[in-house]
């Protein structure tokens, strides 16, 4: 129905970036509309899931911040920008919404990967990673494999939208990283349980994830 809160406004409401007067109007509508309320709740859940992804994939001793920070902040800028009103609202919203949806699409696949892995863990399913990694790194490796695989698929599907330069850099960098991963895996196979090798493998996966995230951001125009 046309009197529902628009998708864009619901997104901004969930993100906390909706201007004060529009927010008040949207909240008034939500108080009497179950459908919009449910949609707003699902968007907030998505944002909460994304916030949860801020935690590191690596074990605690290798804490690294903000794997997903840039995407989380893709539309918020370097700090909180709530309350901003742009004079050419339609233009801004069109731009913003496109970026948001693309970023959300990237993140949804990553969230799915992480959740799938977590469910499997709760069920006591064995790790999908078969390398003889030091025990503390097995779970992290599984998460890296899942997240990087899905981001690669995301980018493959949108390859035609990427600039030629981006594709060249991405492909060359992935070749370098995958070669390094292969060497590290081969070394781990020959030296099972070597904690240093496991750390090196994780560090390389981290770089692959960062690279793919950067490319996905670039593709999304955010």
């Amino acid at each position: 129905m046309s009197d529902h809160v628009s998708d864009e406004q619901l997104e901004e409401l969930a993100a906390g970036t909706l201007a004060a007067d529009a927010r008040a109007a949207a909240e008034r509508h939500l108080s009497g509309c179950e459908a919009c309320r449910a949609q707003a709740a699902s968007l907030r859940t998505l944002l909460a899931d994304l916030s949860a992804l801020r935690g590191p994939i690596l074990p605690a001793r290798d804490l690294r911040p903000d794997i997903w920070r840039a995407i989380d902040q893709a539309d918020a800028g370097p700090a909180d920008s709530r309350g901003l009103e742009w004079p050419r609202r339609a233009e801004h919203t069109r731009f913003r919404s496109r970026g948001w949806l693309a970023a959300a699409a990237v993140l949804l696949v990553a969230v799915t990967s992480v959740l799938t892995w977590q469910v499997a863990s709760r069920r006591g399913a064995p790790e999908s990673v078969t390398l003889p990694l030091a025990a503390e790194y097995g779970a992290a490796a599984a998460r890296y494999v899942a997240a990087t695989t899905e981001l690669e698929q995301f980018l493959d599907e949108r390859r035609a939208d990427l600039s030629q330069e981006t594709v060249q850099i991405l492909d060359e960098s992935l070749r370098v990283i995958d070669r390094a991963l292969a060497e590290a895996k081969e070394a781990i196979d020959a030296d099972p349980g070597n904690t240093n090798l496991s750390r090196m493998l994780m560090a390389t996966y981290e770089k692959k994830l960062g690279l793919l995230r950067s490319a996905a951001q670039g593709q999304a125009g955010i």
């Binding site: 459908a35 370097p78 949806l101 939208d161 850099i169 090798l197 670039g218």
Partner: protein, 309 residues
Amino acid sequence: MPETRRGRRTSRARAALAAAAPAAALLLAAAPAAAQRKLNEKLALRPDGFVRIHNLAGSVKVTGWDRDTVAVTGVVYEPANGEWVIGGSAEGVKMSAWSSNPGSAVQPTQLDVRVPRNAQVWIKTASADIAVSEFSGSLDVNSVTGRITVSGSPREVFAETMGGALEVDASTRALRARTASGDIRIRGAIREVTATTVSGSLTIEGDHFERGTFESVDSDIHYFGNVGRTSVLDFQNHGGAIEFHLPASASAEFAITTYAGGFDDQFGVRANVLAGKLKGQEVNFALGNGGGQVTVLSFKGRVTLRRKG
């Protein structure tokens, strides 16, 4: 049912995403040639307000000043379908020279932007170079292939470019720098720094890094300078070398681990080579009276300590 509405919205969003790219490409293909427009705009902004800048190609030069105003000069090529946007309030200012198809060929737009020195600036470009100077606020810059240069004393810096070079010469409390193939060069006094590259060279100069993480996959890392007495520095590389160019008076504790690399030094260190079942080599030693801590992890790159002077 709410689920039905949500499902419809999700489907709509996905369908819109799928449809947007080809439609945008068609629009751009049909668009008339871009029109050149000279810029000379001023907008009031509070001292710590937000500034967001998007520019596909060309350059973005941002300079801090002591006025509560954002001033923009330069030349923008505005497509007929209107992709140049500028506006805002005292809270925040946004300007955007962007296309719905970042991969398309566009005329370079040159933006010269003056911002309040303590503003919070966010810049995104595709191929446009970015230069920021005389700035003390927070900075988040991101480019696909543009070169990024930052100087001054920004409060914090997040800088990322896939293919461009990245150079930071600044005094800041936090720096995060990342490239894929672009070279990274870091100078200055930085409390906490993380620099990561895949195949670009990584050069660090100075001895004023309290905590640092410097990482590469396949390129060399060079560190020039002393190690601060309270510094904690971490270096990781897979295939590239890690070279320390240290003064004779250097004083720090080193823990070096290589798998198939190797270790050379010009200090004649009395290294404690840790024996063990594991393959590879672990070497611990101290230069001078110790102090700062340096940890090195290398897969097959050589680790070298060079003595200067």
